[in-house]
Each structure stands twice: as C-alpha cells, then as structure tokens.
C-alpha cells in the first residue's frame, strides 16, 4: 500500500505541473463540448485529437493526460444533449434521456444538469479511488470473467431491464426483438457467413452502435419536433433557474453509490462498457426502488443512476488497459495506441518502467473529475438557456450537427442514409406507441449475449453445462433470481395490504 501512496504522490507532482494542469483543464473542457455534440463521442474525440497532440510534440505523459481528459470529459458531456434535446450525446448516454429529458420538459433542466454533474463526479471519482487502491487485483479478476460468465451477466441485465416493460409488455418485447434483429446484421464471427447484408458492403461488419443511437433516438426525436411544430402544439420553455438541492442529493446518495459500483464493475470487464453499465444501473435502480411509475417521467434517481454508472465505467475501463495492456473499450484501445505511438509500452510493467505516465495519468483523473465538476456547474445556466432558442432554429441546427458528427467519423455517406432511415423508422414506432429504449438494449445486449454464448459453446464443444461451471455465473444467476422474484413477492405483499386497507381491487388494469 505504501507503494501506492508514494506512486500517487509522484503522480500528483507530474499532474500538478502547471503545463499538465492546463492540459487537464483544456482536455476536460473540450471533452465536455465534444460529448455534448450529438454523434461525436469520446472515441472520436480522442481519435481526432490524437494526431494534434502528437504533432505539437508534447511529452508522452502530457499527451496522454490531455487525451484522457477528453475521454472522461466526453462521458460528462454526453448527458447534456440527452437531457436538453432528448438526443443522446454518445452511446453511454442513451439511458440518461429516459428521465433526464422529462425533467427538462417539466422545467427542471438546471436541476437535471447539475444533479447529473454531481452523479458523474461521484461515479468518476469512485472509479479512480478503487483503481488506485486495487487496480492490479481488479484487473487480474476481470480477465477470469469467461464467455460463459458474460452470458450470465447478460441474463442478469435482461432480467433487471425487464422492469422497463411499460404499459404494454407485448410492444416492449417486440421492440427488444427488433433490436436483436438489427444486431444480427453483418458477418457472423463463428461461421464467417454474412447475415442479412443483402450484398451491401457497408453493413458487412454490422451497423455501428452510434448510427443506431443517433438514428433511432436523435433523428426520430427531430422528426417528432418538426411534426409538433407543424401542428403548432410545440410549447416554448421558460428559462429555468432550478438547481440541485441538498435534499435531492440526500435522496439520491444511495442510488449514486450503488450505480457507481455497478458501473465500475461492468467497466473493468474487457467486453462491456458504458452503454451496458448505464443500462444495468438504471434497470437495477428501478427494481430496487419498487415504485417504477415515476421512472421515465423525470425521476431524479432514474437520472442519477445511469450518469454515475457511465462515468464509473469509463474509469473502470482504464484498469485493464493500464495494468494488463488490454483495452476495456474502444476509447481505451485508442489511448493504448497513443501510448505505443509515444514509444511507451502499456502493460504489467508500466508502473515500474514509466511511473510518471501511469501515476501521472491516475492523478490527473482525480484533478480532472474535480475540474469537470467546477467547469460544469457554472455552465448549467448557460446550457439550460439552449432550450429557449426557438425550435425552428434549434431543430435544423441539431440535425446538421448530427449529420456532421456521424459523417466526420467514418466519411461514409451510407451512414447518413442509415440514420435518416432509422430516424423515420423510429418515428413510426413512436407513433405506434413503442418505446425505443428496448430496441437499443436488444441491440447492445443481444449481440453480446449471442457472441458470448457461442464462444462458451465453442470452448465446451457444445456442452451446455459450461454455463453453470463458475462461481461468477452462479452468483449472477442467483442475483437474477432475486431481481425477478423479489419485486413480484413484494408487489403481492403491498397489493395484499392495500386490499385490506382500502376495500377495492388492487389489480392494475392489464
């Protein structure tokens, strides 16, 4: 433990160097803006700025501190467009729209932005502290998570998300199936056969998650806005000056801590990232709270949970990268590449060979999280004012930004057709009363579930008992059972009590 503290101290000496400190602040600020733009997320932000950082001839520790600042700054910023515009700023911010945007529409945009900034701060800081204390241990555990354990994790995720089932379970189920179908497009890894590609080369590798998110959520929302505007039913919002209160924080403190744990755990696993983490945290929170009615209509806990989780996951993904040289997410893969570009070999020996980089980066993450909170809170009022821009200017602006965002990443016009088509499709689904969240979750969890199930079965040569052979799996299946059974049991008890006290039928309309 002494080594940890002396390492951290030397790290702070590196990170507090005035030049590096400035880079942390610049990175965090730029990251917030990049994350806030729909379509451009952390992965693109880091990829775009990597050559610039390299070209300016920074020292490796300075460059990596800047890039990491952009990474977690973008995770912070993703929430802004989710809350204000109902358009996820990046893939990890999809769940944030569910309660964040209703809050903004209720005139609590300021409160939503400030509360989520605090939740992000706690999630991010929680992750860095755990990484500092137990990094190598955690990474050693994370790699023991086998394909069959991922299957169990996905079963757990599906079970906790079953709580998303709204008023119409059939439509939710259909939505999830549509998500699964979208996920099956592309070359099948286990046989090398192209599925549902219809000879179009652009979708041979599947549809990018970002394209699905921007299309289904972003474009559908814009079409919806235009429609409202044409009908004249669009309300202009007053400037709201709401802000998070101590009472809100007291009410969400356990939510934030729980979600930070979930987010961090899922983040350190090499195969899963912020999008899965925030989904599981949201589902679990809804289950834990047992009053799912207010969730989805602007519940502060439904906002705090995914935001704490996606920032904790971003921190968690750094653990296997720094300690084992294995990237835990797309963005950490680029950071890994960046280190190589600077002739630094990430991996088990980095803490001994290049401590100034490893510890400097960790220390900069502490500073970065504080900086993000300090940068974000005063900006809340400014961002909230975005909503007072008349819709006829705002809608086309968002559309242009989303198109540029998607095109700038891959320069493939095909993706622009895709988001337009998916947007139309999403809009029609909304018209028919479908919720889009199950589609996205079916898409993310479905492909992870399928790939890992088939990996597990290739390992065991087709023997299904492999799914129950590790403690990780067993614990997850027990948790799944709890998540499914306890709310039913609890619901019956409440119903029974209600039936006794009020003399009326407790059954909700089917």
């Amino acid at each position: 433990m002494d080594a940890v503290f002396s390492g951290l101290a030397s790290g702070f000496a590196t990170a507090l160097d005035p030049f590096n400190l400035m880079l942390v602040l610049v990175g965090c600020f730029a990251g917030t803006l990049i994350g806030a733009l729909p379509g451009i997320g952390p992965i693109n932000g880091v990829a775009i700025l990597l050559p610039i950082a390299y070209g300016l001839g920074f020292k490796p520790e300075s460059a990596i501190i800047l890039l990491a600042g952009i990474y977690y700054g973008a995770e912070y910023g993703g929430r802004i467009s989710s809350i204000l515009l109902n358009v996820p700023g990046d893939a990890g911010a999809v769940m944030t729209t569910l309660d964040g945007n209703p809050m903004a529409r209720k005139g609590e945009a300021g409160k939503a932005l400030s509360l989520s900034a605090v939740a992000s701060f706690v999630g991010g800081t929680f992750a860095v502290i755990l990484m500092t204390l137990f990094g190598p241990l955690l990474a050693a555990y994370a790699v023991t998570f086998s394909p069959s354990d991922y299957v169990a994790l996905m079963v757990f995720a599906f079970a906790s998300l079953a709580s998303l089932v709204g008023s119409n379970p059939v439509k939710t189920l259909l939505g999830a199936v549509i998500g699964l179908m979208l996920a099956s497009i592309g070359i099948d890894a286990n046989t090398g056969v192209a599925r549902y590609t219809f000879g179009i080369p652009d979708i041979l590798a599947g549809i990018d998650f970002l394209v699905v998110v921007i299309g289904l959520f972003g474009m559908a929302e814009l079409i919806h806005l235009v429609e409202q505007q044409a009908r004249g039913t669009l309300k202009t919002l007053e400037i709201d000056k709401s802000f998070v209160t101590m009472a809100d924080l007291a009410r969400t403190k356990w939510t934030i801590l729980r979600s930070s744990c979930i987010g961090f755990f899922i983040g350190i696993l090499p195969g899963t990232g912020a999008s899965v983490a925030s989904a599981v945290a949201y589902g679990t929170e809804k289950r834990v709270q047992n009053n799912p009615k207010s969730f989805g209509e602007g519940d502060i806990r439904g906002l705090a949970a995914p935001e704490a989780a996606n920032n904790a996951a971003a921190g968690g993904a750094m653990v296997p990268m720094l300690t084992l040289g294995i990237p835990g997410s797309g963005t950490t893969a680029i950071l890994l590449g960046a280190l190589l570009l600077f002739n630094v070999t990430p991996g088990p020996l980095m803490f001994q060979q290049r401590p100034e980089i490893a510890w400097g980066l960790i220390a900069s993450m502490y500073i970065g999280n504080i900086a993000l909170l300090v940068i974000n809170l005063p900006l809340v009022g400014l961002f909230a004012r975005l909503l007072t821009i008349p819709q006829q200017y705002l809608t086309p602006l968002i559309a242009v930004l989303a198109f540029i965002g998607v095109y700038s990443i891959v320069s493939n016009p095909h993706d622009l057709y895709m988001i337009t088509l998916l947007g139309l499709f999403g809009w029609i689904m909304r018209k028919l009363g479908f919720s889009l969240a199950p589609v996205i979750l079916g898409f993310v969890l479905g492909s992870l579930f399928e790939n890992n199930l088939r990996r597990a079965l290739s390992i065991s040569a087709g023997d299904w008992t492999i799914l129950l052979q590790s403690w990780n799996s067993i614990v997850l299946y027990v948790l799944t059972a709890i998540v499914v059974i306890v709310p039913i049991w609890y619901g019956r008890r409440v119903a029974a009590r209600n039936a006794r006290s009020e003399d009326e039928s407790p059954k909700a309309p089917a």
Partner: protein, 324 residues
C-alpha cells in the same frame, strides 16, 4: 471538424506550393478502412509519421469502417478510382478477403498495390503456466485429439486469425474444421480470454506481445515465420525450424491506390516511400509500432502481392473456405 481540417490543409497547400520539396502530393490522405484504434489506424500512422518531411504536406488520416475494408475498396472502384492524393491501408487480412471473394466483385486486380508499411508474424501463444511447454507438446496434443485443445483469436472463422490456427492444425495433416476455435471480438478480448483461462492457445501476432513478454505472463511457443526475428524475439523458435514450414503466416501491412491512377501519381507515392525507407526515422517508426521492417514499393511490390493472393486462394480452398 473535417471542414476546418480541409480548409487548413488547403491553406497549407497554397503556402507550400512555392517551396520545392522532394515530392508534391497536393492533399495527401491515408484511408484507414476501420474504426480508429486498430491495425489499419496504425498502418496509416506509420505513413503519417514516416513520410514527414518527405512529402511537403502532412498526411491526413481518414477512417472508413465497414466490412473489414469492403467499403473502402468499393469506394475506390466506383468514385475515387483515379484519386492521386489518397492511399488506402491494407493488411494480409484484406488480401485473404480478396482471395475468398468477401469483397464481392472486387479483387486484387482492381487496385494498385503501392508500398509496404512493415510486416508482423503470427505467433502461437500460451499462458506462462500452460502445460504446453513447447510447440511439440501442443502438436502432440492436437494429433492425439484435435478437439482437445481450445484455440482462439480476435477474428471470425475465415479471417486471418482463424487462418493461423487452421495452418497449425493442417501442418499435422488434421482437418481445420474439426478444431475448437473461439472467435473473439479483437485481440484484446482474445488476450484476456487466454490470461483468464477461457482458451488454451492464442494465435495472435508477435508484435503485440512485447509488453506481455517482459512481464512473463505468457510464453510464445513459436513465431510463424521462416527465419528468426531480431531482438526482443531472437530467442523464440520459428515454426519452420521446428519442422512445420507450412505453418507460416506473415501479416503484411501496406497501402494501395485506385486502379485508374495515373503512373505519375502512382510513382510520386512510390518515390516518396522509397526515399523514406532509407531513413532512420522510417525504421524507428515501424519498429515502434511492433512491426518488422520490410520495405518494398512500386510495380515489384504489386507483382509480389498478386503472387501472395494466389497462394492464399490455394490455402483457402484446401481449408474449405472456398466452395467450388
């Protein structure tokens, strides 16, 4: 963002126009046909850094993911067939796709192979505490029961990662279709699968093993090459010297251009690469990315690649990847 980059490149181009540099390529661009962060990204970074100073204007890297290179080759056969400014990164994996017809109607005759970035080699990797101490141990186990060993790597069945495993199995005259191969999503996941014990053998690339080698977490049973590699891999035996000359897999990385580019534009790039190959800086850049220096450019290179694709097509047929 792109617009601004474009604008600044344009300004830079006009400023530098008067300056006499060795090569004048107006708006040099390297297309990495994948998401940022992978091998194609790395290939373009080598050109970006290695050609600095040889080409007047900085090379811009553009990402074009989709179909493991299919989207890029499609674009360069439909709209940008004669683009003098752009090179596209490719690897042996792309060549395998051409050989097995994964790129639809396009194959190796539809592009002009321009230059190499460098080369890497396949490696047979096990965990440091594995029961397989040598390649002979592993091959004996495979021979006894080909289904008893769990192999895995970062690519799907039919990809070059799978090919490395298949070549190994075939070297003992066993059927690759009988092997237990686990397809992970990228080398990182496959590596954690190996360290975590999900798979017993990882058929990865030797270049990415530098960090693990020093830490002593894994053991490389063999490098899939003819001759020994230089330090830090000099102590690792090759498949050829261990008696499996057919289990050789070089991962070539390089660049191609559109099929209709003028000889002038093609030669401008070829000359730029040839000039850079001689410099210390190029060699260092290549080595820093974990690749071996391998420098060939021009028509000679184009011919070499055509030969390679033919050989791959043969192997793919024998491995059952191409049905007749």
């Amino acid at each position: 963002m792109r617009l601004r980059l474009f604008a600044s490149t344009l300004i830079a181009a006009t400023v530098f126009a008067g300056v006499a540099m060795a090569q004048d390529i107006e708006r040099p661009e390297c297309i990495a046909p994948a998401q940022p962060g992978g091998g194609f990204d790395l290939t373009c970074r080598i050109a970006q850094k290695g050609l600095e100073g040889v080409i007047a204007n900085p090379i811009q890297v553009t990402f074009m993911p989709g179909g493991i290179g299919a989207v890029a080759i499609n674009l360069f056969n439909t709209t940008r067939t004669d683009d003098p400014n752009a090179i596209v990164a490719f690897s042996s994996g792309s060549l395998l796709n051409m050989a097995t017809g994964k790129y639809g109607e396009w194959n190796e005759d539809d592009v002009r192979f321009t230059a190499t970035a460098g080369t890497d080699y396949g490696a047979v990797i096990v965990r440091a505490d594995s029961e397989y101490k040598t390649l002979a141990d592993l091959m004996a186990a495979l021979k006894q029961d080909v289904g008893s060993v769990v192999l895995g790597a970062g690519g799907s069945v039919g990809s070059q990662d799978w090919m490395k495993a298949a070549l190994l199995v075939r070297a003992e005259n066993l059927d690759p279709r009988q092997m237990r191969y686990v397809a992970f999503d990228g080398g990182g996941d496959a590596m954690s699968g190996l360290l975590g014990g999900s798979i017993q053998v990882y058929t990865g690339d030797v270049g990415e093993m530098i960090s693990q080698l020093d830490a002593g977490t894994v053991r490389i049973l063999a490098v899939m090459s003819k001759e020994r590699l230089p330090e830090p891999f000099a102590d690792i035996p090759t498949t050829a010297e261990l008696g499996y000359p057919d289990a050789e897999w070089a991962i070539l990385r390089g660049y191609y251009m559109g099929k209709n580019v003028s000889d002038e534009a093609y030669n401008a790039w070829v000359d730029a690469f040839k000039q850079a190959y001689g410099t210390e800086k190029w060699q260092e850049t290549v080595k820093a990315q974990g690749l071996q220096v391998y420098s060939v450019a021009g028509e000679e290179f184009n011919q070499e690649i055509l030969g390679r694709v033919d050989r791959m097509r043969q192997i793919a047929k024998e491995a059952g990847l191409i049905q007749e």
